[in-house]
């Protein structure tokens, strides 16, 4: 039973859960009326993508990608490339969040609200 579950998780389950998380993030970005929550959901989505990349580099029986004396076999370590990539992506997400928050404060100053509906009602479309 555990074997089957493990096999299922390894083949599909983890990816499914990751995609669900990503889907929720995108859904939140689209459906939440509050801009602040949109930003939080954006972060959720980014976490999902980062995790997706990390799972690609996962290796059974591998350890952290820090070399230990005398062990240089490729099988012994987890793939370091996705980690390096995701470090970059994570920093980018922090930058984006910072800018988004600054924008939110500016929007609050101009419109007095950060609710999508209220802003749309104030003649945004024109």
């Amino acid at each position: 039973m555990i074997d089957i579950l493990q096999g299922f998780l390894a083949e599909k389950g983890i990816y499914m859960l990751t995609f669900i998380l990503m889907g929720l993030g995108i859904f939140g970005m689209i459906c939440c009326g509050n801009y602040m929550k949109k930003v939080v959901c954006m972060n959720i989505m980014q976490v999902a993508i980062i995790f997706f990349f990390l799972t690609l580099g996962q290796k059974d029986g591998g350890t952290l990608p820090v070399l230990v004396k005398d062990i240089f076999e490729a099988e012994a370590y987890i793939n370091p490339l996705p980690h390096a990539l995701m470090l970059t992506a994570i920093v980018v997400s922090l930058g984006t969040t910072g800018v988004a928050l600054a924008l939110l404060m500016k929007i609050k100053e101009i419109y007095g609200t950060i609710e999508e509906e209220e802003i749309t009602g104030k003649g945004w479309k024109k």
């Binding site: 801009y35 980014q46 990349f53 990539l85 984006t96 988004a100 924008l103 939110l104 500016k106 945004w124």
Partner: protein, 499 residues
């Protein structure tokens, strides 16, 4: 070792990061650092293109000396060589163009420095986006472009922040989608280098993942280039951005992702792949809808920038149409349209910014008889608009010619009809502007910045030069298109894109 590919980026990069510090020491020199480095980068890009045309070989530059696929490399062939020239060209002149704007509000020392820094980063990002040969590096540059775009849109007019915020949300989804696509490709091949990806993808038979990656790429690049159903962020962003930076944002920022898309679909995915045909058809449908939608929507607005923004949606559709055709003439048309539309839209936004700068004009019904007060701007506007409609001998006509040629070669007569309809629709809204420009009632207009420009007829020379250059380039690009096609595109498109 030839360092030009990286120097093109490094010069403005140094200017951009040191601009705040230099401005702190001496406000005038911060600006000059950015403008100077951008012009240096433009000169270098021209040298680089000349070298590529002479040798006919793409230039490779290995970052850190690491051979691809282990390190990051820059690959510059004819097509992106010319696009780099375009970006550096427009970037340099836009930085020149924006200086009167920044002098007009000297209330804060950092304001000018920050503006130039962000603008410079936009240029850097676009340069990197077009020169990189690494899929993940492309993502990083995409984010640079996006972040600087958010900044320049947010510091624009009153609705700028909210336009920027919407762009931020949509743009992040786009970038993440692109990243997803790269993830799929990486999971299937284990490499990130584009050339290497192309080789590896030929070997694998896992079709699902290629389709998924293609879908993600379409969404990712589609959002960045404002392709039809994914264009929502674009009209507000282009209409409310900082007027001086708007030429760059509207003219170039949405074109380079189109080039990226082209590169992915022709260099990395095989265009003979069974899924490719479906994907190309989908892009074609999106393009057609975008062309018609953009042109129709532009008819509804009176705001000059909005009209231009919606027409951009249509024009990006032209490029996507060229991509979806997938034959030689279609691709040549798409690349030429990237070039010509960049100059047209940049020029039109220059005129828009000049109007805003001089008289604070935002709406076309304020344009009455403005050509008497600003003859150069008025003339440039006419030339650029005629090019947008696609009338000879301006550049817009010739890219349309190649697109139509490609469409008929593929037997897609419907696309030709769409091109024609779109030309006619754009003729309607541009001639409406002309009517107002030449035949509208003259309005009493007051100088927007009376203190800065007392008693002058036109806008300052630094703004006139870019306007004139854009208009001249549209003519030159039209009459000299075969120079580009024969010397640069013919070889590169055949070899790089169509294998």
């Amino acid at each position: 070792m030839n360092h030009i590919p990286v120097l093109i980026i490094l010069f403005p990069l140094c200017g951009a990061v040191l601009c705040p510090l230099i401005s702190f020491l001496n406000p005038a020199w911060g600006k000059r650092a950015v403008v100077g480095t951008l012009f240096a980068s433009f000169a270098l890009s021209v040298i680089q293109l000349a070298g590529i045309v002479q040798t006919g070989e793409p230039v490779h530059y290995w970052m850190g000396g690491w051979a691809p696929p282990y390190g990051i490399e820059f690959v510059i062939d004819g097509v992106n060589g010319i696009i780099i020239v375009l970006v550096a060209f427009i970037g340099a002149f836009t930085s020149l163009f924006s200086s009167p704007f920044e002098e007009a509000n000297p209330n804060h020392r950092f304001k000018s420095a920050g503006y130039y820094s962000i603008l410079c980063f936009l240029v850097i990002g676009l340069l990197g986006l077009s020169s990189t040969g690494d899929a993940f590096n492309l993502y990083v540059f995409m984010e640079i472009v996006a972040l600087s775009g958010y900044g320049l849109i947010a510091i624009g007019e009153e609705k700028g922040p909210i336009a920027a915020f919407r762009y931020l949300l949509t743009g992040t989804i786009g970038a993440c989608m692109y990243l997803m696509g790269v993830g799929f490709l990486y999971s299937a091949t284990g490499t990130l280098n584009m050339a290497d990806l192309a080789i590896k993808l030929k070997e694998i038979d896992n079709t699902h993942i290629i389709i998924l990656a293609m879908a993600c790429m379409i969404v990712g690049f589609g959002i960045k280039m404002a392709l039809f159903p994914l264009h929502g962020w674009q009209p507000p962003a282009h209409s409310y951005a900082h007027p001086a930076a708007d030429p760059m944002i509207a003219g170039v920022m949405i074109k380079i992702p189109a080039y990226g898309m082209m590169r992915f679909f022709f260099c990395i995915f095989e265009e003979t792949h069974p899924a490719a045909e479906v994907v190309f058809n989908i892009i074609g449908v999106m393009a057609v809808c975008g062309i018609l939608f953009g042109s129709l929507k532009a008819l509804r607005y009176d705001k000059y920038n909005k009209i231009l923004a919606y027409s951009s949606i249509g024009q990006v559709g032209y490029i996507a149409l060229g991509i979806s055709l997938g034959n030689f003439y279609g691709l040549v048309g798409a690349v030429l349209h990237i070039l010509s539309h960049a100059f047209m839209k940049t020029g039109l936004f220059y005129t828009s910014a000049a109007l805003k700068y001089k008289f604070g004009i935002h709406y076309t019904d304020e344009l009455g008889q403005i050509y008497r007060k600003m003859p150069v701007t008025g003339t440039a506007m006419v030339a650029l608009s005629l090019s947008m409609i696609g009338l000879p001998p301006f550049a817009g006509f010739f890219s349309k010619w190649y697109l139509a040629l490609g469409a008929i070669q593929n037997g897609q007569y419907f696309y030709v009809a769409v091109l024609i309809v779109s030309s006619l629709l754009s003729a309607i809204y541009f001639f409406r502007i002309f009517e107002r420009l030449f035949m509208g009632e003259e309005k009493q207009l007051e100088d927007h910045y009376p203190a800065a420009e007392h008693g002058r007829k036109e806008v300052p020379l630094r703004m006139i030069i870019p306007v004139v250059i854009a208009a001249v380039m549209v003519v030159l690009l039209g009459l000299g298109n075969t120079f580009i096609v024969n010397n640069v595109l013919e070889i590169t498109v055949m070899e790089v894109f169509l294998g």
